[in-house]
Structure formats: structure tokens, C-alpha cells
Point group: C2
Amino acid sequence: MVDITIKDVAALAGVSAATASRVLSGNPATSPQARDKVAAAAIELDYRPNAQARALRSTRSDSIGLLVPDVRNPFFADLAHTVEQAALSEGYVTLLGNANEQKEQQDRYLETLISRRVDGIIVAPLGDGGGSIRSLIEREVPTVFVDRTVDGIDVPTVTTDSAVGIRQTVEHLASLGHTRIGYISGPQATSTGRDRYAAFAAAVTDAGLSQDLDLVYFGDFQAASGSAGVHVLLELNDPPTALLAADSLMAVGAIAILHKLGLRIGTDIALVAFDDIEWFALLDPALSVISHSVEDMGRIAFDLLLEVIAGQTPQSVVLPSELVIRASSSVPILPASSRRKN
Amino acid sequence: MVDITIKDVAALAGVSAATASRVLSGNPATSPQARDKVAAAAIELDYRPNAQARALRSTRSDSIGLLVPDVRNPFFADLAHTVEQAALSEGYVTLLGNANEQKEQQDRYLETLISRRVDGIIVAPLGDGGGSIRSLIEREVPTVFVDRTVDGIDVPTVTTDSAVGIRQTVEHLASLGHTRIGYISGPQATSTGRDRYAAFAAAVTDAGLSQDLDLVYFGDFQAASGSAGVHVLLELNDPPTALLAADSLMAVGAIAILHKLGLRIGTDIALVAFDDIEWFALLDPALSVISHSVEDMGRIAFDLLLEVIAGQTPQSVVLPSELVIRASSSVPILPASSRRKN
DNA sequence: CGTGGTCGTGGAATCGATTCCATGGAATCG
DNA sequence: CGATTCCATGGAATCGATTCCACGACCACG
């Protein structure tokens, strides 16, 4: 690697390194001549400042960290995209990390981000408030949580009020005649897993539907557990006639297994998924979803982070969710006798 | 931000910064007593080395850059995931950037990665060899291209031999009776766009099918252009009876518009997509695809990068592709007279 | 008992950029 | 015209960690 330093630029321009630095960082205390010479020299040499050295001295790195639980989850891919675009427009680079829904990898990435002295971190956290999450707070690294929260850790967050969408969904399914709704839950180690489960339980109770605990399967937000959940729920003596999956990947797993079992979604069994993904509208039948805005979530998270970096303590934001009804949950339930058996 | 430096650790341990540094970086020239005291002090203070300062002095940053054209494209999300896992297992952190299929943003990210002095860069490049791509080479930054190449830039690459899968697809469609295959191409500014188009043209010629130029639509690898392509191709006086989309996002766009037009995929029109995405198997009918291994591509790209960083010049690798036949292209073509009109 | 060698250690230089401080020349004012 | 302010500039300190170099302590050998 051929490295060109500010001294090379200064030498070619015939000024000192100090002056070169001033010109290159837009310090007004420079003469037009110096400005021209340094600018020309920098272009001539194709000079790129060493971000390491700059950050070392000025204690800012113009970079933020974004830690998501799974890049392959379209929701988080979209989130990464919007955060990155928002950050870029403010001159920040986003270092994206992937925790793979594993606390261990999350900790490893947080360590790295801390030691790289990023200016701030946006994280969709998992696990409890232990490990590196705690370090983050103790070291006063500007931090914002997205999508999920952590008990006992008080940082600004951007979350979705899942309860509204889930209540709408349960009421919608109840109005179609469903009395037994199967719920494929997220892990209780995540706040979204817990919140959505609580919202589901409350909505089911209020709607006067079956509160049979067997109707809940606890997955891990990954596709395979969606398949497993469907398997378990359909094995019940009195299986559900409708399913609600707590995230898109588990919904994908559920769809795959329902296809394999020969069950027609929307006719034999209703299905609704949390998270609105472009692909869901393309399925046949199109999937009903509980929708919330990733764009808003990403942009607001970054805005909050900027405020935290500036030393303020902004209020947390809760975004709405709402049911979008499509073909996968629009047909009234058939009498049990006329339903196909698998 | 509360920062604890190596001096704090050294002071608490009662040794000099030099000794503390030696202990912490595993230098053998240290006494057991010093080792114990420094280790205890580091834990006591929850010390994290400043990666900036370390990288500044030692000229390695233990990080690599990965630049993809679009994180929201499942193929690249998967690629990011595999590269990241491979890198992590070797102690490297991956800084992921998103070019958004725009040369300008690609250049901006490359600038940033260069100035952060990453140890190496894996990039799925776009555009010609100008701009920052050229700087990369001139500065001898260890670089590996994945998925795509750039004319005139000679760095190790990992690509897919699209020709085999495309030839299989054309032959397969021909055997079902299709004579007019519509092709939704990627942009000719990318090597994959050009290669796949050339492969398609050659295969069509060899199979003795229509070489009508109107049957080719040039898209941009994004969903909207898939929809536009279908629109244009179906407007032809003699429209195609089968479609091949050059990537998954354009296939998604194509599927969306075909649904809207009321055309049944697999029956009214055959459809095959390049890139095997989990979701494609879930569609009804399941989508035939040209499959190639992202896992191999990501892992090999990282292996090559390690070799380049070590000063070697490894051979480029070309991975195979193959047709996977599913329901979207398995029914022989119906006589034109019996087909539905849109 | 003196010399040579090993070994752990601390001081100081270093990486590249930024920034404080002092300097000298030009400009402005009384 | 002398005194004061202003401003561009270069020298030097600085950020935090690594590493070269030299020093002193200790052991061993002749």
C-alpha cells in the first residue's frame, strides 16, 4: 500500500503540514494562495487523509455503528438501508454488523465498535442488559435502540406499538369466525418477542377466543422455527384455523411447510405475518400483514442518535402498526366438516 | 465518553506503558508478575484498546471492507452474511457498505474505506474502471472482486459461469415448445449484465429459436425494471411465451405485474429467474431458477482476499451455475389459440 | 572475581493528522 | 509615524498504542 501523507502534500505545495491541514479541513484562516497550492497538490498526489490519525486527534470518527440481529431478514436489510442513507446524507459512514441472533456475536461486534471509537451506535439488541450492552452505557457511548428494548437499560429507543396491529388482527380473524388462532411467537429473550406475545394474549382474551396455551409456539425469529411451529400446532387434537407469525422469516417457514402439507393458505387456513415485506404481496394468495414503517424507524433512529451525540437526551419514539388485509385472511372460516384433512 | 487508556492500566499496575502494551499484545518478553498485574488492572478498569491508535502505529486494522450494490437484494444480503462469518472466524471485522447500484455512492464508500485503511476490500463493482476503482489499484489496496468484474482491472475475482445455467434454461424452454423467449436483461454497464446477455443470445441462436431483438429488455437489476420489462415484452405483436429474468429483484417485479395482469405463471407464461432465493420456492407455482452458490462465492472471496493481503496473487475462481426446474416452467406450451388474452 | 550474555523494563521515538501558541508582516488607527 | 490589531503561518505538542533502544539486574562461565 502506497501511502501519501499530509506532509507529502505540504512539501509539494511548499507550506507546512499545519497549513495543509487547515486548508484541507476548511479552516478559514488560510490565504487564497495557500488554498490553491494545497488543493492542487492534494489532487496531484491523489491524497486521502488517514481516517485513523484524524480520529485519534479529533476524537470523532464520522462513523456510526449499526448492529442488527440478522441482515438476511428483509426487515433489517431495509432498516440498514434507510439508516445508511440517512447517515450518509449527514456525512457519517455506517459500519454494519450482524449479530446472527446470537448474544455472543453481538458482544463481539459491540466490543469492536467501542474499540473503533465510533461516534455512536444504533442497535437492535438481544438478550438482557448484561455483557457489552452494559459496557456501552457505562462508557457513555451514544446509543440508540431500534425495534427492541432491553429491561433496565435506559437509552432512547424507536419501537413499534405492536399491540394495535395485533389487536386488529385478532379482531379481524374473530370476525371471520376463527375461534382458535395459533401464534408463532418470537423468543421471550427479546422485547419484541415478549411484547407481541403479551399483546396477542390480551387481544385473544378480550375477543373471547380460546386462550389454550397449546396454541402458542415459541420460535426464534428464524425461518426454520416457523416451519416447526406449524408442525406442532397442526398436530394438536383441535388445531387452529388461523395462524399469526411474529416476524417475516417465521412466516416464510410457515408458508413453506403449509405448501408441503398441501394446505391452501387463505382457504384451508388463514395466515397473517408481522412485518410487511414486498415479497408478501406477490404470494398467491397475497399475505395479510401487520405493517409498520421501516423507513420511519431507520430515519428517526438516526435522528435520535444525532441528538444523543450532541449531548441531548431525546424522548423515545413509538411508531404505529396496522393490519393490512389481503387474500390470505379474507375468506370466512369453513365449517370444520367441509375442511380438507391433511 | 469515558476513555481509559493504556496509561491508566499501566499506572494501576505500577508498570510503564511499554510493559503494559507488551503484556496486552502477548509479547513474550514480560515477567509473570507484570503479566498478572497488568491483566488484573485491565479487567479492573474494563480497558478497551483504542483501535485507531493501534492501527495508526501498526498499520493493520483487522478490518475489511465489503461493498455490495444493494443490501436489499437477497443475493447480496446472503453474500454479506457469508463473507462476514468467514471474516469473523479469522478475526476480521467487516465494514459493510451499500452502493445502491450507483457509481457515485460506490466511489464515496471506496474513498471512505481507503481512508480508514482497511486491510482489504471485497467489492461487487459497477461501472467502468474509472474513479475510485482505479485508485484502489494504484494504491495497491488488497482487493478482490465478487460476482462482477471490471474491464481492464486485473484483480482476483470470484464469478459465476452464467453461461451453463442460461444454456440449460434455453434448451429446457425450447424442449417445452417455446420458440420466443423474452429476456429481461441486467444493465450492460455491469459485467454480469453483459455476460448473461451474451450467453442468452448465443444459446438462443444455437437452439434455433427466435433471435428477435425486441425480445430483449434492458433493465437495471431492480424490481421496477422487471415490471417495466414485462410490460414492454407483452405489448409486442408476437409476444414471448416464456421469460427469463437476469436477477431476483427483476423477477420479483415481473411476478408482481404478471399477477396484476391476471396471467398465470407456469400456465399462461413460463418464467425463470437467475439467482436462487429461498422465497422463490415458496411461490405458487414455485419458480424455476438458475442457481449458484452464494456461500461458496462469499467464502472463496474472503479466502482470496487473505491471500492478497499476504502478498500473493491467487488465481481467479469461476463457480458453476445450473438450472433448477420447478413449476413455473414445467408445463409444455399451449397452442396460441387456447391461451388467454390479457 | 571479572566479563559476557540473557532478560525484563522504562524512556523516547513513531505513526498521521489536528490544534495550540508564538511569530512576523501587513493593515489600521490615533 | 508609532502603536495596535489582525491574520496567515510554522513549530511543537498532542491523541493512544507500539516498538526501538539502552540500561540495569541477574546468572553463568572461565
